[in-house]
Amino acid sequence: MTSLTEDYRRREESITLSSEPAGTGETHELFTLNIGPHHPSTHGVLRLLATLEGEVVRDIKPIIGYVHTGIEKTAEDKSYWKVIPVVERMDYLSYYFNAMAFCGAVETLLGIEVPPRAQYLRVLHLELNRISSHLFWLGTSALDIGAIGVFWYALREREKVVDLFEMSSGQRMHTRYFQVGGVMEDIPRGFDVKVRKFVKEMPSRADQYADLLSKNQIALERLRGTGLVDQETLLKLGVTGPLLRASGNPWDLRKAQPYCSYDHFDFKIPVGTTGDNYDRYRVRHAELYESTKIVEQALEGLPEGPFIAPDRKVALPPRHELATSMEALIHHFKLVTEGFRVPPGEAYYPVESPRGELGCFVRADGSAKPARVHMRDPSFSNLQAFAPMVRDEYLADLIATIAMLDPILGGIDR
């Protein structure tokens, strides 16, 4: 036997099989593992340099930038109207929220009022997007911890939501439906019937997912007690959203700083107790029910009126006016070629996206193109909390924690 194998044998025979908790004070050598940008369980191209001691993670260093698209730089080059599709593709699971944050910021700078029908339509689509984002998260996270069946069911529901988006705007994803001043188009006939049908069956489907996962022994063992971080650390790190709510802090911008007539709706905020992975799963799952309630209320209470601000300098005039009115034609021409001008100023508009506080900072300098667009992405700040979550946990729990953290690399890298 060579000396290498002798050493290995000796070490192997000296290990006593007892159930020691992680980190018992014996130091073994540290081993750096690269969980590379291409890995089946990192949600997107996230690279993690994990320093392991045996199976226990001692430190983690996330390396990002593998899908950096220069969205903010591209947005400076385009007129305000054209920035909306660019900015939508940032956090690619919650596209309406990106558009909402940007449109809200520009509307603040312009000082225009969004009509109530547009606000309700916006809330309807935002909450449907929240449901679809949580369903996708549920599907892929269950896939990561091994419950492959939930993946098929969650995607089946998500197809229904995405069908609704296709009905209202023509596109499944990145719909460019929100415009500055309101929404692009009114909902078609038959939309409300489909939404009612969806709303009626969604709670029972969410019950099915709960039946599969919430009291499942494997899910409980993998998720309960892992990835625990206390609330103060999370607040210091700038974490918001379901991660913060799972640790007991009921901070939700929809209730705290209501925007876009969220205060007209009656819904609850699910809050966890300990802040471990299981609570994060339960909080997001409970949000499915609450969002369904909001969708129902928004549909039933949809007021009549214009679906976009009547200010012709900002929003396109309806097409039938173009044949008769000269001003409408001129406005249409100016808006399509140059775009509207925004008076100089800066605005920061935060919304509550499925991952936390998504804010959009817009600096306008009086021309038709924004001078700076910055999106404060929730996953970017949430990723900083990842290191305290997985310190002194097993490698398998690290995978479950990434799943529960719900990072979207498009938002992190922008």
Partner: protein, 221 residues
């Protein structure tokens, strides 16, 4: 509901075929009749074509998704547009076991060498689908941070869309399957230095950090 019953086109045709089959089994068919029998029932092909046909129906794609197109790619695995209809549902995590890479999403300059290394590690013959506008031609984002995939690796099928519907991606993979079943020569891949598979040989087998078991060294293994 109307039930239509169609008569057999030529009632004697079926009978002739039955008699032919009986004769063949008894060894009684001769020359002309035997040739006609074989033509009617047996598919002749070359081995290449058969292999290409099998290859086209059994791709192992790599689990690889970058950005928004990955969401639609995952929808193609789901039940409405089912990639398992084509036999391609076995997504493999390791590039060494995969032969198709679907570039779903935008390729940034930091990610490009990683993708090229993944592509090199795949086994020959390997195929690549560029899904969406961003990896084919930068799409919405024509700026400093992205690079189109054609610049560093050979792509077989480009699927346009932003993001393409799962049905569009299915159309793209049907086109790729048709292409593969024609068994095209890999000549143009030489332009990208992409023929073959990359294998890493250990830098030094005597290094104390890596314990390499030499053949015959079974004790302690």
């Amino acid at each position: 509901m109307e039930i239509r019953r169609e008569p057999v086109r030529d009632p004697s045709d079926l009978r002739i075929r039955q008699l032919d089959a009986r004769d063949m089994l008894q060894g009684d068919l001769e020359d002309e009749d035997l040739n006609r029998y074989v033509e009617q029932r047996v598919m002749t092909t070359t081995l290449d074509k058969a292999v290409a046909w099998a290859r086209g129906n059994s791709f192992f794609p790599l689990t690889f998704g970058l950005a928004c197109c990955a969401i639609e790619q995952i929808h193609i695995v789901a039940s409405r547009v089912d990639i398992a209809r084509f036999g391609w549902e076995a997504f493999r995590a390791s590039p060494r076991q995969a032969d198709l890479i679907i570039l779903a999403g935008r390729v940034s300059i930091k990610m490009a060498p990683v993708i090229r290394r993944l592509y090199d590690q795949m086994l020959d013959p390997k195929w690549a689908i560029s899904m969406g506008a961003c990896c084919s031609s930068l799409g919405v984002f024509n700026n400093y941070a992205l690079v189109p995939a054609d610049k560093f690796m050979p792509i077989d099928v480009h699927v346009p869309g932003c993001p393409p519907r799962p049905e569009a991606l299915a159309h793209g993979i049907i086109k790729l399957r048709a292409k593969v079943q024609l068994n095209p020569p890999p000549g143009w891949r030489e332009r990208y230095d992409a023929v073959g598979t990359e294998e890493l040989l250990p830098a030094s087998t005597e290094s104390p950090d890596i314990s390499v078991f030499r053949p015959g060294d079974t004790a302690g293994a």
